[in-house]
Structure formats: structure tokens, C-alpha cells
């Protein structure tokens, strides 16, 4: 393999015929990658089709089922889009509590990603469970934070997976003041744990992997973005969310069921690092101070800095939830009245993995006549391929397949795509010529 001019055909089906949900195929010639394909093979479930004909009141319960790890994000983008059609303006209580609801999901999802998915890579373990024996404090701290995030979601949604509390206009149910007080106290008590997590994550040996790419996130100029803002990108883009499709083109490629999206023709990044790069000035004061102390320096174009960004967002979400739940009072009614009408509406919020965009059309009775959903994974997919290409070439394609495969898995896992599990099945094929 050291002789790059030699014609070599290597096929390494490391895990023969498993899944096929995430596989990487690399074609190399003379030490350069000539073709690289990240195959995301999540079976299609046709949500955009079966939402058609459904009443607006059914959409939040349906779209939660797109992802068990970030159901709140799907619900929040959907209700926002439908509210924009119906001209519903949720009041201040609903807006604040939706932000808390979202904080819960960030805490849960980021804690799960850092501890159960990413950390074992850095410590040389197969899994977080295997890591627990040697690093019980860190793993258990992560699980406690994950559980707290789940509790926040359950406060508003009765359960953390496919919560049942969200509706167009607000919530079905307002939590009782006593439950809020109890949870808020525990969130506050967890702040030092989140701070310790940020410091721990800042010490991970992250690959030095500076790259050149545009990134995109919401920005509203008032608070760190979750469920409101305009599209903002490193390219200078500043546009309402309704215009995303004017700037981003999605294309289907033969090797993947996730579409490839490009921003003005370029692969781009969404997610925690994109948010942090564009909105660090809007972090809560305490989190900003922690960022200043622990890094990374911003803006960063090392995709691996998504990991410290996630830790910082856990901290920020805790601070936000504690702040927003202070002086909590249950309102008389936890939602605005909704009068359906025909129209087109857009909703975009910041899922843990990045911008999640929905577009709906409804008829006069509030039934969906068209639905389009652009999840973060499809927006990141082209960027993941670029990252893989750069990272593997920088390592050198004469490296052993096992090393290249592990490196590839790490690159993909770092994006925390909604196929997290599939990336463990990375079936690497390198064809060297």
C-alpha cells in the first residue's frame, strides 16, 4: 500500500451485510481520493406524504415520531409553521416555556451524545458502559444531566420521548408551580456539574482539523437561538426563515436516502458549532465566561469543536431554564385559541443537531395539503463527506483500513447525525488504485 502507484483493490466489509444504514465507500488513486460516498440508509418512512390530509392538531404528535432523540425540535418547528399560517401569536408565557422545553431537549440530547456516543472514542472504549468501570464519575454525571433534561421535557410533555404536551398555540397543560419549583432547584444544583462537564470536555484530545466551510444557524440578536430568529450564515446571509429554499438546494443522490443540501452551491455546517460561531455574544454571561476560560477560540472551523460547543450549550440551557422558571406562575390557559385558515407557513428552530426547517400548506379547515421537512442531517451530509475527504487524505490513505475506518466513524459521529447508531455500523470500503 505504500506504493501509491500500484493498482490495489481493497474491499473491507468489516461488518458483512449489516444494516447498510451507514456505510462509507472510498475510491483512491495514487494516494488521492477520487470518489467518496457516505451512504446514509435510513429506510424512508414517508412522513411528508402521510402528513397530507391530517388535521393541524395531529401534526405535533405525528412529527415527534421522526426522531426519538429530538422530538421537541420537530414539534416546535411544526407548530411554529402552522401558527404562522393561522396568524396565531403565542403569548410571553408560551414563548418562555417553549424555550424551557427546548432547553430540556438540548440537555438530554447533548449529554447523550457526549457521553454515550462520543466520549468512548477519546478514551479507547467500545462503549460508555465499558467506560463506566474506569470513569464512573464522568459517565454518571453525564447520565444525571441526561435524566435532568428528560425531566424538563416531561414537565411539559408528560414523557421525554414523544412528549404529549405540545399543540398549535402553546401547551395542553401548564405544569404545577410546586413541580416547577422542585425541578428548578435541581436544575440550579446541577450547574456546577455542567461547569465541570465543560472543563472536562475542553481537555479532550481533539484532532486539529481546521477546514474551510460556511455555517448556518438562526440568529435573533436577543437570545441564544432555539426557536426564533432569522437565517444567519458566515457568508453574510441574513434572511427570514421562509426563504431558506431560495438559498439552499436539496438534491437526491443515488447512494443515500438523506438528501444533500447546499448553501449557494457549497456544503455547509449546521449544529452546535455553527450556533456558537454565530451567537457566542448571546450566551448567558456565566456560559460566556466559561467559554472565555476553556475555549475554543471562535469562530472555529474545526468540526471537532462541536463537542465543547455541546458541553457549553448544556451549561447555557441549564442557566436559561433556571432563569425562565424563576417566579413561575401557571397561566389561566396555556395556549392561544386557533382559528384555522388556508395558507403557507414556515417554521425553523434549532434542533440539537442544527437547523430544522418545516414548510406546510393547509386548506381552509386547517388540514395539511403539503409538507416539507429539511432536517439537520441532510443539511450536514454534504459537509460530512467533505470533512471525511479532507480528514482521510490528511491522515494518508496508506494508513491501515482499521485506522481509516475508526477515523471516519469519529468524523461522522462528531456531527451527531440522526443516524448516530448507523455510524457504528460503518462498513468501510476502500478501493485503492
Amino acid at each position: 500500500m505504500s506504493d501509491a502507484g500500484r493498482r490495489i483493490d481493497i474491499r473491507v466489509p468489516v461488518l458483512a451485510r449489516v444494516e447498510g444504514e451507514g456505510a462509507l465507500e472510498v475510491h483512491a488513486e495514487a494516494g488521492r481520493i477520487t470518489d467518496l460516498r457516505l451512504r446514509i440508509y435510513e429506510p424512508p418512512r414517508l412522513f411528508e406524504r402521510f402528513l397530507v390530509g391530517r388535521d393541524h392538531s395531529e401534526v405535533a404528535d405525528a412529527v415527534a415520531r421522526i426522531c426519538g432523540i429530538c422530538p421537541v425540535a420537530y414539534q416546535m418547528s411544526a407548530v411554529q409553521a402552522l401558527e404562522s399560517i393561522f396568524g396565531v401569536e403565542p403569548d410571553e408565557w408560551v414563548r418562555a416555556m417553549r424555550r424551557v422545553f427546548y432547553c430540556g431537549e438540548w440537555i438530554q440530547s447533548h449529554a447523550l451524545h457526549i457521553h454515550l456516543l462520543a466520549a468512548p472514542d477519546f478514551f479507547g472504549y467500545e462503549s460508555a458502559l465499558a467506560m463506566t468501570a474506569d470513569h464512573p464519575g464522568e459517565v454518571r454525571r453525564g447520565m444525571r444531566l441526561q435524566a435532568l433534561g428528560n425531566e424538563v421535557m416531561a414537565l411539559f410533555g408528560a414523557r421525554a420521548v414523544h412528549p404529549v404536551g405540545a399543540r398549535v398555540g402553546g401547551f395542553h397543560h401548564a405544569p404545577a408551580a410546586a413541580a416547577v419549583r422542585d425541578l428548578r432547584a435541581r436544575l440550579e444544583a446541577a450547574l456546577p456539574e455542567a461547569e465541570a462537564l465543560v472543563r472536562w470536555a475542553a481537555g479532550f484530545p481533539l484532532p486539529d482539523n481546521g477546514q474551510d466551510f460556511p455555517y448556518l444557524a438562526l440568529r435573533n440578536g436577543a437570545d441564544y437561538p432555539m426557536n426564533r430568529g432569522r437565517l444567519s450564515a458566515s457568508t453574510g446571509l441574513d434572511a427570514p426563515v421562509s426563504e431558506l429554499a431560495d438559498h439552499v438546494a436539496e438534491e437526491q443522490v443515488p447512494h443515500s436516502t438523506a438528501f444533500h443540501a447546499r448553501l449557494h452551491g457549497e456544503p455547509y455546517l449546521v449544529g452546535p458549532l455553527a450556533r456558537l460561531n454565530l451567537n457566542a455574544d448571546l450566551l448567558p454571561t456565566e456560559t460566556r465566561a466559561l467559554l472565555g476560560e476553556t475555549g475554543p477560540a471562535l469562530p472555529s472551523t474545526n468540526p471537532f469543536h462541536s463537542l465543547p460547543a455541546r458541553a457549553l450549550e448544556i451549561h447555557a440551557a441549564l442557566v436559561e431554564a433556571v432563569r425562565l422558571l424563576a417566579d413561575y406562575r401557571a397561566p389561566e390557559r396555556p395556549h392561544a385559541e386557533v382559528t384555522p385558515r388556508a395558507g403557507v407557513g414556515y417554521g425553523a428552530t434549532e434542533a440539537p443537531r442544527g437547523l430544522l426547517w418545516h414548510r406546510y400548506e393547509t386548506d381552509g379547515s386547517g388540514r395539511v395539503t403539503a409538507a416539507r421537512i429539511m432536517p439537520p442531517t441532510s443539511q450536514n451530509q454534504a459537509r460530512m463527506e467533505e470533512d471525511l475527504r479532507a480528514t482521510l487524505e490528511a491522515r494518508g490513505l496508506d494508513a491501515p483500513d482499521a485506522e481509516l475506518r475508526f477515523l471516519g466513524e469519529r468524523v461522522i459521529r462528531n456531527y451527531d447525525p440522526c443516524i448516530s447508531c448507523a455510524t457504528h455500523f460503518l462498513d468501510l470500503t476502500v478501493r485503492r488504485r
Binding site: P43, E58, C67, V164, T257
Partner: protein
């Protein structure tokens, strides 16, 4: 597990097919209990948690997700062959899940409407539960299942006991919890009278209708409930949609929805 070798820890696999990953969280959200469980059993395959060995022989295989691609048909046969107990978990695995809504329509046509190049996508026209494809030993229902359910199942199976399936309807649990009935007091079309419990009657406790995510209870009277919904002012097509949502491929919800849609002349959405 009665037949497990003395000293040998039971081997457990958690597989994912067409799904949202949400039912695996019943394990991943266990926290301290997950650590304890991992001391009692060997997770030999659980991709999201780390270990990958999909063709390993195991004592218990939990399967999340429905059968929606040709590859999944082949995979579930291998999983069945390699498992002592095969336990589908969640709505997708027990009844095809929300994506089984395609079964009521022309699945291939739907695919073409979502994908500009449907020929690139390998997918079956239907989404079905595991038991529609291979024999299963026990099923955990729910969209999603929760930690209490999976722990109870593991515990029972490890001791060689048949787990006791839930039988009560959501209504029973609701009454025990002292919730105000949303169907009676507010006229909300609640599926509690025909849905099996296990969730904790979460929706009525929040003042809203049950939408049936745990699937049909035994001997549910869908006919009477459908007429009740009609009496509340729902159109036949709206009644049909209540039955055809999370468990549309499961009888008797499937037939009930069909009757309201076809016999009673509702528009096909």
C-alpha cells in the same frame, strides 16, 4: 434464564429496524439502572450504545422498528434464528408503526411523491410489525415503550417467567389516577376506551385526548366508540383518522378506520 449456563451472563441484543430510535431510549435513559443492568447481562449488540455484533447468538433480542425494506426482511430472519427470545418493542415493531399508514394507500406511489428518484431507494410498499414476518415470543407495546416495561420484561425473562402483558384499558388507569374524563366532561374524542394502558394515562392527565399510541386493548369496542365520536360532531373521515394513526395496521383499529372511511363514504385524505 433457566437454561443459561451457571455463571454465564445472559446475552442481550438490541436491534434497530425502521424507526425513530425512541424505544432504544427506554434503555439509554435508564441511567444508573442501565449500569446495573449491564452488570447482570452482556449487551452483545446494541449499536447506539456501542457494541456491534448483529449476528451474535443471544438469549434475548429486543427489536425496535418495523419491516419496511427487503434487507430488513432478511435481517429479522437472521435475528430470529439467533435468538432464544425475540421481543419486539414499540409500535413500529409490534404493528408497523406510524409509517404503516402507507399500507392503506399505494406505497410505491407515495415513495415517488417524496423522492424525485424513487428508484434509488430500496423500500417495501408496506411497513409491518415483526410478528407479521417471523414468530415472536413476547411483545412490548407503546410509542414509545418506557424503561419500566423493558426492565420488567428483562427481569421476567431472566427468571424464566412469562412476562404478564398489560390488559387494562387506558380508561381503567385513568380512573385509578383520578383524572377527569376528557371524553365525558369535554367531549374530546379520546381513544382511552379502546387503548391498552402502560403509558400511565399521560394524555388525559394533561387534559387532552388519548391518541392510542399504546395500541388496541383486548376486546375493544371500536364500533361504539366511533359512533360516540360521530355523535360529538366528527365527520366520518375524522373518525377514520382517529383509528388510523400510530397503530393503523393493527386490528381492530385497521378495520374500524376502514369502515368509517369506505363504508361511510369518507374522503380519502
Amino acid at each position: 434464564m433457566g437454561a443459561a449456563k451457571p455463571g454465564a451472563r445472559p446475552r442481550v441484543a438490541v436491534h434497530k429496524l425502521s424507526s425513530c430510535d425512541g424505544c432504544q431510549l427506554a434503555f439509554l435513559d435508564l441511567g444508573e439502572d442501565l449500569v446495573r443492568l449491564a452488570e447482570l447481562v452482556d449487551f452483545v449488540h446494541f449499536a447506539e450504545a456501542g457494541p456491534v455484533d448483529p449476528d451474535a447468538e443471544v438469549d434475548i433480542a429486543f427489536v425496535e422498528g418495523s419491516i419496511a425494506t427487503p434487507d430488513e426482511v432478511a435481517r429479522i430472519k437472521r435475528i430470529r434464528a439467533n435468538s432464544r427470545y425475540l421481543v419486539p418493542i414499540g409500535a413500529c415493531a409490534t404493528s408497523g408503526g406510524i409509517q404503516a399508514l402507507r399500507n392503506l394507500h399505494d406505497g410505491e406511489k407515495w415513495l415517488a411523491e417524496v423522492y424525485p428518484s424513487p428508484e434509488y431507494v430500496e423500500s417495501l410498499a408496506t411497513s409491518t410489525g415483526i410478528a407479521d414476518n417471523v414468530d415472536v415470543d413476547y411483545e412490548l407495546w407503546g410509542c414509545p415503550v418506557n424503561g419500566r416495561q423493558v426492565l420488567a420484561a428483562v427481569r421476567a425473562l431472566l427468571w424464566g417467567v412469562d412476562p404478564v402483558p398489560e390488559q387494562d384499558k387506558v380508561c381503567m388507569e385513568c380512573k385509578r389516577a383520578g383524572n377527569v374524563c376528557v371524553l365525558v366532561s369535554r367531549g374530546t374524542p379520546c381513544l382511552g376506551p379502546v387503548t391498552v394502558t402502560g403509558c400511565g394515562a399521560l394524555c388525559p392527565a394533561f387534559g387532552r385526548d388519548c391518541y392510542g399510541c399504546y395500541g388496541p386493548a383486548e376486546n375493544p369496542n371500536t364500533e361504539a366508540l366511533g359512533r360516540r365520536f360521530r355523535g360529538l360532531g366528527l365527520l366520518p373521515e375524522e373518525v377514520a383518522r382517529r383509528f388510523h394513526f400510530i397503530h393503523s395496521h393493527r386490528e381492530p383499529l385497521r378495520s374500524a378506520g376502514r369502515r368509517w372511511r369506505e363504508d361511510r363514504g369518507a374522503d380519502d385524505p
